[in-house]
Amino acid sequence: MSTDDLIFDVRDVTLRFGGVTSLNNVSIQQSRGEILAVIGPNGAGKTSLFNCLTGVYTPQVGEIIFHPSQDQSVSIMGRLPHKVTQAGVARTFQTSRMFNALTTFENVKIGVEARHKTGPIGAMLHLPRRNREERESDQRTLELLAFVGLEHRMNTLADSLPYGDRRRLEIARALGTNPKVLLLDEPAAGTNPSEKLELTDLIRRINQEMGVSILLIEHDMRLVMSLAERLYVLNFGEVIATGPPKEIQENPAVITAYLGTTETEGVSG
């Protein structure tokens, strides 16, 4: 891992809710183009970490730096979620959050055109930029739908899609924002084995063909082990292990955290 080309640099982040410490002194480095996974038992703070990285929560202590490109850096701390997205961080949610009453096409298109510039005046008067952006976003939306394999479902309402398709739609919508890094929160939850295989393939293609770095939370170990280049293991808000999948599988602290062989490990914070 080269330390000079990081995309995410999370340093000593501590997040508290009242008396509960959700993240304690967490440091995570992700290199550009890497598929990184964060695993851990339920309540370990994985989703809290995602929410910190996307600006939903602001940690009390620490620093989160996002590098859209090698010579740019953006501090996520205190930045509003939509600004974080505009900087190049996209995410999906653990439970599906589609715009259910809109079609698949419209869902993705909203993601694509969120970074466009047309304002109300342009939209009302059909100014040239509006027409150009509509064309662009239509085309980009079709490309993305084809990329995730949903082009035949274009006019289907989001809530009538099967579960696996909804996951892919959510990914397509997030990709529409043209991210540098994609945060996937349990993308395989609730999908069947064949959908999982497709999803693994899709995530790899996003990483390789689009050059998007991936940060992944997942419970499905087979998927994590086959995809991730490196893992962070969180337990009770702390990083207990980091390294390539092979090492992590044999790490005694991780096995303890997952299987819970001792009772003496207290709740941190």
Binding site: R97, E113, T118, P120, A174
Partner: protein, 617 residues
């Protein structure tokens, strides 16, 4: 034997009784409290003085009908009144029999009849309380001759149709039913047009006498002699035809699966022809209307349509409940008064009203942004309360700032629209009837606004509003700034309201603070909700329909109608609308889906409530 254990006929139970009784007393209460002369400060007054007025038992019957209706719906839902399987027949003849024999419809009719007799008896027995009591026969006569009967028929028709339709849906397979055939659709359309012609005023027969329907009768007003009757029938047929066309092309599209831009159902040329046709009718038709319709369009519909399409941006598109909407209307009106020199404070220069319009747009928009920036972080009820407060502040200010606005006594005359160019001099007349010049002026403002808002809704901005309405968290995660779009909706709505204010003040001349009270805000909200939130056509239809109701009540001045009574009628209409068509008369497609989602337990269609909250898991 207690009431719980008693066996009731027809599968009724004590809950049904409770429902019916509640509704009956509701109707009674409504009648007592809202009589022609009565108000909350003198309960019982109306009842004592006008027990023989159709007004009172009209509402009693309304309550009873509502009770019967709730019971019927409940029973149908519970499956108590489902037809036995053996009766779900396949042949056409028997299908027609199912149509006519629909059990709930009969029960409903019987209940309604009993309710009617009961109401008349109540009126008869309490008669001695009033000086000039009518006999039962007279009451019956008066009732049959009153419009109440007509309204009951109107109310009953959709009920029965709906009941029958739900039955058909369950009992017959989807394909091959004659009721879903194209021929049947056209027939429905024609019958619908006929019914509409029947109820469309001012040719509504004053009494539903059969003699009225005779061909070749003595009066020119006879139903079948009036051209509008045929117009409506043809209109119904055309609508049905269009429905079939759209449906067929939908099916074809689904078969071929070819790409289409979302929401583009009809080809651009067809749409252009449709728009041009609408515009042509809007320009030409008013000239041939009689005084009633002219004054309806002129007095009521125009300004309110403008207000409603503006509020539709706020409520329908962005999903924000704004109860202080009238404040911007007042701002527009007083801006006009200021710049045309009608206020005690004098402007630096007197402007023609045409030039006041852009100023009013800017003023109202700024007010919208100023109100919106701090308050739009609030949600649902809180936002409603804050905007309500804002509306009241503006109202109190214009009532009490005597040195600026002339206070509660009103001010005026604000300047009207006029053209003063070398060689061209024209002033829009503010005559109350018979002059359509302001109507055309209004049309000139309305048509462009309609087009602008339609394309706004189909643009990136409109889709962002839809996204925020559906799931604010997800919208934010895509880089949409919710506050920006909410303020934008607020400002656009406010500026429309400002334009409406200028137009209204220019037309009326005199300005009274009481014209800008809270009721007006609520009325516009009703227009939007009744017509269909988020649907521009729906809002147009809703505003036109409800204003027609108002005008109808004034024009015919039956049962001692007073203007303040209109909210009572709107209340009744809104209850019916919420039962049968919560999505509004002509809902937007997106909204219909949201309502369906809500019924299926997915998210909230109530854009006025809080958005989907909870942890970002």
């Amino acid at each position: 034997m207690s009431i719980n254990e008693r066996k009731w006929p027809l599968g009724l139970d004590k809950d049904d009784l409770r429902l019916a009784v509640t509704c009956f007393f509701g109707g009674l209460l409504l009648a007592v409290m809202t009589g022609p002369e009565g108000n909350l400060s003198s309960p019982g007054f109306a009842f004592q003085h006008s027990i023989f007025s159709s007004h009172v038992y009209g509402f009693v019957i309304f309550g009873l009908l509502l009770g019967a209706l709730s019971v019927t719906r409940r029973k149908s839902k519970m499956g108590v009144w489902e037809l036995p399987v053996s009766l779900r027949l396949v042949t056409v003849k028997e299908k027609i029999r199912t149509l006519t024999n629909t059990y709930p419809a009969i029960i409903f009719g019987v209940v309604a009849f009993i309710a009617l007799i009961a109401a008349l008896l109540v009126a008869d027995f309490t008669g001695p309380l009033v000086p000039n009591k009518l006999s039962f026969g007279q009451l019956l006569h008066q009732f049959v001759n009153s419009r109440t009967y007509g309204y009951i028929s109107i109310a009953e028709a959709p009920l029965v149709i709906r009941l029958v339709r739900t039955r058909l849906k369950k009992s017959t397979p989807a394909q091959g039913s004659i009721f879903s055939s194209n021929v049947a659709t056209v027939i429905y359309g024609l019958v619908g047009g006929f019914l509409f012609a029947l109820f469309a005023d001012p040719w509504l027969p004053p009494r539903f006498r059969w003699s009225y329907f005779t061909f070749g009768g003595p009066s020119n007003n006879a139903f079948f002699h009036h051209w509008t009757t045929y117009l409506w029938i043809v209109m119904g047929g055309l609508l049905a035809g269009r429905y079939i066309f759209v449906k067929t092309s939908d099916i074809r599209r689904a078969k071929t699966q070819r790409f289409r831009r979302p929401r583009a159902e009809v080809s651009a040329s067809t749409r252009f022809v449709m728009y041009a046709g609408c515009l042509f009718v809007a320009v030409e038709a008013p000239k041939y209307l009689n005084a009633f319709w002219q004054s309806t369009i002129y007095q009521q519909i125009g300004i309110f349509v403008l207000l409603a399409i503006g509020l539709n941006v706020v409520i329908g598109f962005a999903g924000l409940l704004d109860l202080g909407y009238v404040a911007f209307y007042a701002l527009g009106a007083y801006t006009n008064a200021y710049f045309t020199g009608a206020l005690p404070i004098h402007p630096p220069f007197i402007l023609n009203t045409f030039f006041v319009v852009p100023i009013a747009v800017i003023v109202a928009m700024l007010a919208g942004v100023l109100l919106g920036l701090p308050t739009l972080r609030l949600r649902g009820d809180y936002l409603a309360i804050v905007t309500l407060g804002f509306g009241e502040i503006v109202y109190v200010l214009i009532s009490n700032l005597t040195s600026v606005t002339d206070g509660a006594g009103g001010t005026g005359p604000a300047g009207g629209f006029s053209i003063n160019l070398p060689g061209i001099h024209y002033a829009w007349s503010a005559a109350l009837t018979g002059d359509l010049s302001y109507y055309y002026l209004l049309l000139g403002f309305m048509v462009p606004i309609l087009f602008l808002f339609t394309s706004l809704n189909n643009s990136r901005v409109g889709r962002s509003w839809a996204a925020i309405r559906e799931d604010e968290v997800a919208a934010t995660s895509l880089g949409i700034n919710p506050l920006k779009y909410k303020v934008m909706a607020f400002a656009i709505g406010a500026s429309t309201s400002g334009v409406a204010g200028v137009l209204s003040s220019a037309k009326l001349g005199a300005l009274f603070p009481s014209d800008f009270a809270l009721q007006l805000s609520i009325f516009v909200v009703i227009l939007v909700i009744f017509g269909g939130m988020g649907s521009i056509v729906g809002v147009l239809v809703g505003a036109a329909f409800l204003n027609w109701v108002t005008q109808y009540l004034i024009f015919h001045s039956f049962i001692d109608y007073q203007d303040a009574d209109k909210f009572m009628y709107f209340g009744a209409l809104l209850i019916l609308a919420m039962i049968f068509r919560p999505q509004g008369l002509v809902p937007s497609k997106r909204r219909v889906r949201e309502f369906e989602d809500e019924e299926a337990g997915l998210g909230s269609a109530d854009a006025l409530g809080t958005a989907v909250e909870g942890p970002l898991s």
